[in-house]
Amino acid sequence: MEQHGSLACVGLGMMLGAHLSPRSRSHIEQADVVFALVSDPLVELWLQQMRPDVRSLQPYYAEGKKRTHSYREMIEAMLVEVRAGRQVCSVFYGHPGVFASVPHRSIEQARGEGFQAHMEPGISAEDCLYADLGIDPGWFGCQHYEASQFMFYQRRIDPSAYLILWQIGIAGDRSLSRFATGADYRRLLVELLAQDYPLDHEIIAYEAATLPITTPRMGKMPLSGIVEADLRMETTLVIPPSRPMQRNHTMLDRIAALDIERAGGISAPSIQTNQGKQHVECHPVS
């Protein structure tokens, strides 16, 4: 049975005053209780001006404390208010659903307990990155990984596409309790990346602007340079393609054959898969 309390996780966008959507602003203004996790102290002050009673989630963090513990406590703090029947709005910088497990988890939990919960998107650091760097992810494709996940798990990298690594400032932190790692960890990351990219391949350290009086960071450096570079909590690593895209001649030949068959009015072919052949219904592309 759906209960009275509710949760809205809303995105604030990246830049103070610039990115907040009307719907998210309405949630902030009308909620009974507002929680906030933002990336810039002046942005937090802005939010405090909108809602003087806003509850910052900053106190849940502590050096040496597992972030998973902090996250659980944040979620519980929100859910306590929802269970009490209040309309709760949780504000997150950027987009609340992009590289942000707390909003997803809190919505999942609230719904699991029978409460109404939803997310309002925001302008993310990723969105700003495309605009500031003039990158279109559709040009060559774009892979995104959390930097530590990229190091912990075996991934198949495509060097003909963009590779973007998030949370680079804590790359390699297995304890989930550090605010920064450092050069030794990044040296391992460079070793890993060097399997697919030359060490002198130019990469970009990116940080979105959070205030209208500042500019984004777009620092270019060779791949090897990230070992000693100033990579912070807000830094994202952008690795442009190092190789041209390779045509898939086998697939192109099969598509060409299909085109010829269709032009001749021949019935749809079969698809060759690992599980054998399947008949496919063909429809004209409009």
Binding site: P41, E44, Q49, Q58, R67, S148, W166, R174, L176
Partner: protein, 95 residues
């Protein structure tokens, strides 16, 4: 309400409202009813100085993600093997 934050909000909403040149910006800042130190921090485009003057938080943490979606459940609270590492960190698709 802080006039500085109001000014930043207006500037964020409409970057052209205060003109595009440094002189326009300086002229607008000069008209704000704020103290000299805040004016200078704005002219210097110095967020750290502004934050100090406005008593903002000195450090911000804003990681809200973990390397694996499983980490929320899989990491033992008491770190049973003592290495601070999740015992079960297999990605979901491989389970």
């Amino acid at each position: 309400m802080s006039n500085v934050i109001q000014f930043l909000e207006a500037m964020g909403r409409n970057p052209g409202v205060h003109g595009t040149s440094a002189a326009d910006f300086a002229a607008t800042v000069a008209l704000l009813e704020i103290d000299g130190a805040q004016q200078q921090a704005l002219l210097d485009r110095n967020p750290a100085a502004l934050n100090d003057l406005l008593d903002g938080r000195s450090t911000m943490m804003f990681y809200v993600n973990t390397p694996s979606p499983d980490d929320h459940e899989a990491i033992p609270d008491d770190d049973s093997d003592g290495d601070g590492v999740p015992d079960n960190d297999e990605p979901p698709l491989e389970k």
